[in-house]
Symmetry: C2
Subunit: 376 residues, 2 copies
């Protein structure tokens, strides 16, 4: 049986994270399965938890080179306690990606995909090959490359999921933080297309300009001295009562709830000691700021803060809604949902300390894609 | 037209809170209304926000005496900003109470209540008289005094609302903090009667003993050195995935979510980097700790923290459920829902600085009831 390279992340109970490429057998697809030669898999913020976790990227050391390199990064003792459940288990990485179907099972559905480019998700995409159920892959539209289709799932479905959550819960406009991200740019385009009010919160003037250039109407810079007033004004104008927050830590979520409450109270006709009865919601879907979230409770009693995770959202809304959202992604893959990559890197390059430092920085607008077919 | 005394709380834009009794006309009841001579109205923690707010009770000064006393308490400048909406508006106070129907409108429903003892809620109960819709009052059961029925609404419906929320949202057991309160004792009795698992979090050994004495099975003392382990064990044994928290500030809500996640992970068979997919919920319904809430995000992504307020809950579940809960309160008024009062005070006594200091302390197990018919 021939073998193929797969990137692995291993937390050792001795307190190190080890990244390496391992040779794994290339499996035969079952009747309803396909074998995909992976050609592109993005490094999303949501991949970094499993790939790097709390390990110290500044102190990486390497033994070997190229495909046989083994990178070791230290993990501080307190962080190790949270990782007990994965200690000493070598884990494949990569939430999503795209590639070519090079073998297929006997079922007509699987056979129909032979030779086609498909996108897939569900883990282990940082590899040269991956098995998938024929029903779980998404054939790419005509003219789309594997790199075009590599980020079909996480960002596009998250952006669509935000609007879907907003509508299901009875809100009519939303706030988005870290809004200059790839995901944030998709959301700007979607909200323009769908006529949904969107308040974009960014962290500098350059990001604000970039979003304005692609048509964003409300952009608020959190480093502005008048940030809270500007946020409250934008929320009052759009009527936003739900927010999706990638920052997580610190006081931003609390500030957003405060601004929503202040915007609602501008319209209030009588004093209520419990504050507005309109429900104000923040979903935290990322943790760019790893400090604790601080809630100041100055926003009445009709509020909620929840974690938000794409797989849980898709399970909640059910397959019919999920299929509808996926169909929109396929239809708008090269327009609304186009991703832009800073660099295409090989599996071996993904283990080089300076490359790790670059993709681990999560700089807004920077995004790396692993191209397992690349050899260099 | 004759007049009657009503307690008022007035925030002056000059930075003082003024408490006084004012003479107000006794209104004629409309066709579907009754006039209630108020005989008992409790001072709940939820009343103190409107009554005292952030004013400094240690620096109260009094002019006049008895029914004509005017008490002035200073309010610090930062706190004044949050009170702008009620500045210079004299506000009646008191969420609930009970008394005797001394006049009734022409409708048969109103006439049927004449001479009866009834409980009511909705504000302005710290007064000698109050008008209410006949449909909104609850006749007290045979043998119950006005003092027995004074706390029919806030605590009993909150305790029942917690269990109702738990069931509606698919949980099977719950955690309650500040569990030695009047409300907490009702919840212990209810959970025993209904066979619902309950984890009681208290703040000292005396409170723990008191709850054990009335039959509580799981009582955890937050000052115990092994608090987190004991909480996690109790949560694991009951399967609690929802909590009602009266503390609000600090790290308690975060610790509860952490313990729920840890309890769920004890049963997990495989590592998930996103944590358990079981939703963990904390409802904050009080603010005994006025510091910000700190969330450490060490409990996966399937979690929510929400404000919880009785009127919003009742509006959400609708009149049928609200009526079912109210009927249970009436049936168990002298057993499950019996309240115990530290002291019965007159309207005039409620303005005395040392009495204000006593009811403002919100000591667990201490509760004051205003008896407007009391003259002394």
């Amino acid at each position: 049986m021939s073998t193929s390279l797969q990137l692995r992340s291993l937390v050792k109970s001795s307190g190190q994270l080890e990244l390496s490429l391992v040779e794994v057998p290339i499996p035969e697809p079952g009747a309803d399965e396909v074998l995909v030669e992976m050609q592109a898999a993005p490094i999303n913020p949501s991949d970094l938890g499993l790939l790097i976790g709390p390990a110290d990227v500044a102190r990486a050391s390497v033994v070997g080179a190229g495909a046989t390199a083994v990178v070791t990064l230290p993990i501080a003792e307190p962080a190790m306690r949270a990782l007990a459940a994965r200690a000493d288990a070598s884990m494949p990485v990569g939430n999503e990606g795209a590639g070519k179907v090079v073998a297929a099972g006997t079922s007509p559905e699987a056979q129909a995909l032979l030779g086609k480019l498909v996108a897939l998700n569900g883990g282990a995409t940082y590899a040269q090959h991956r098995i998938a159920k024929a029903a779980d892959v998404m054939p790419l539209p005509e003219g789309a490359s594997a790199v075009d289709g590599a980020s079909c799932f996480v960002n596009p479905l998250t952006a669509l999921g935000m609007i879907e959550s907003m509508r299901r819960e009875g809100h009519t406009a939303l706030v988005h933080t870290a809004a200059a991200s790839n995901l944030g740019q998709m959301l700007v385009k979607l909200c323009i297309a769908d006529g949904v009010g969107l308040v974009n919160v960014v962290r500098n003037a350059e990001q604000a300009k970039m979003l304005k250039d692609i048509g964003a109407r409300y952009v608020v810079d959190s480093t502005s001295p008048a940030f809270v007033d500007e946020l409250t004004n934008a929320i009052a104008e759009t009527g936003a009562t739900i927010a999706f927050d990638a920052v997580g830590g610190g006081r931003l979520a609390s500030q957003i709830l405060w601004s929503m409450e202040a915007a609602l109270n501008r319209k209030a006709t009588a004093y209520s000691r419990y504050g507005s009865s309109v429900h104000k919601q923040v979903y935290i879907y990322g943790g760019l700021d790893t400090r604790p979230t601080e809630l100041a409770h100055s926003f009445g009693l009709a509020w909620g803060i929840n974690g938000w995770l794409l797989p849980l959202f898709l399970a909640k809304v059910g397959p019919e809604t999920a299929d509808r959202l996926r169909a929109r992604v396929a239809a708008e893959l090269k327009t609304t949902f186009a991703s832009h990559y800073t660099a295409q890197i090989s599996l071996a390059e993904a283990l080089e300390p300076q490359v790790i430092a670059a993709y681990h920085r999560r700089a807004t607008g920077e995004k790396y894609v692993i191209v397992p077919t690349k050899t260099a």
